[in-house]
Subunit: 233 residues, 2 copies
């Protein structure tokens, strides 16, 4: 990625690189460009949320939504990471929960002649930060909309919004995008000159993801068509 | 999942449930059946590896391979988790690196009438354990084969095995499958009776993953056909 000449807005056009967002290996794959990071995040909706519990790492898959430079995750107020982030624990104040949020898209299998040089083409984003409970009701509602629309843009407006009781049972955590990096590999196999002549097929197998035909709920009321944001896919 | 009547082998047919493999929410989705866990692991090849560095969580996507009740991950001997697991650090002995390894397959988008009840159909496995360096050369070679064959069964035998120099530059970590759980959701949307009549489309959008046409390397020697383990997909 070339360094952008001028920022597109008042926001800096790249995230600041830190020691822990600087990889020890394949530094050429690391990027800090804000638009690139956002595009990778926006191409997905499931992250792997890491936190520390009793000194040991825990990694759980969960939905996320992005609004500007903030990520949101949500869960029951009774779930472990949500509790740990302080919403239900009196006295934790503004401490929050240190987290690492990782989003990965696998784009292709890269088959080299040497087993050692096999790799994947991929796009990933790693966010280091602190998850803090969202307490403002308007922000919470916007975050829940973002979580639904991250999966399927347009769906939040085409569903019943959360009731006060549902809102009370839900905890939303916000994570600022400040210490962030992307990693991208998008190339063919790289073998040594000596290996190129070996009689093994070599190349890239692209991976595809798609949507099957929507399956209506058993109890779907008659006469409700498949919505446009689904048929468009 | 019904409890199996008799174990298929001398191995217990299920992993022992522990406090941290017992979810606080949706316990009905949690499973400990060994065959189910293995089948979810074997359907993938990218895990999210979590560990603790300087007290903070780190989650990195990486390849894995399963051999029996052991998972393997690998990397450069210079990479952070591999170094931390003790291979290059004198005096760490058998300590190893506490890790959490999570594998997730997203199978469908579940659209309920209420925004609150939106969810995903998915299969996931969470492994809590300790990553220990593999030092036995035969085990290391078998692990590297497993890592390649996890992505594409049959490929390890159809590529150049690692040279002594490549082996020396590679660290392999083994993680025992002992504290393991699977989570599975595979159902339609669940709305309250009051919501069912709402005029929002509701159902499941299945997600599909596939393989595109293999793209040969620019420098592929002429006359090498696409191998059967690729055309079979």
């Amino acid at each position: 990625m070339p360094a952008p000449v001028a920022p597109a807005s008042q926001e800096p056009s790249a995230y600041e690189r830190t020691e822990r967002t600087t990889p020890t290996r394949h530094r050429e794959r690391a990027h800090y460009d804000r638009e690139l990071v956002h595009s990778i995040l926006d191409a997905g909706y499931v992250c792997h949320l890491g936190f520390v519990r009793d000194g040991a790492p825990v990694v759980l898959p969960t939905l996320y939504g992005r609004v500007g430079d903030r990520l949101y995750v949500h869960g029951s107020t009774g779930s472990r990471p949500l509790r740990a982030a302080g919403r239900s624990d009196a006295g934790q104040g503004d401490a929050g929960l240190p987290v690492c949020v990782t989003v990965t898209h696998v784009d292709g299998l890269v088959l080299a002649r040497s087993a050692f040089s096999h790799t994947l083409n991929y796009r990933s984003v790693v966010v280091h930060g602190t998850a803090r409970p969202v307490t403002d009701e308007a922000e919470m509602k916007a975050a829940l909309d973002a979580l639904v629309d991250q999966v399927l843009p347009g769906r939040a407006a085409d569903s019943r919004p959360a009731s006060p009781k549902e809102l009370a049972a839900t905890a939303v955590l916000g994570i600022e995008l400040t210490e962030v990096s992307a990693k991208v590999r998008d190339a063919g196999p790289v073998d040594s000159e000596a290996d190129v002549a070996l009689p093994f097929w070599s190349g890239v197998v692209p991976l595809t993801t798609g949507y099957g035909a929507p399956v209506p709920a058993d109890d779907l009321a008659p006469g409700i068509p498949v919505p446009g944001y689904l048929t468009a896919r």
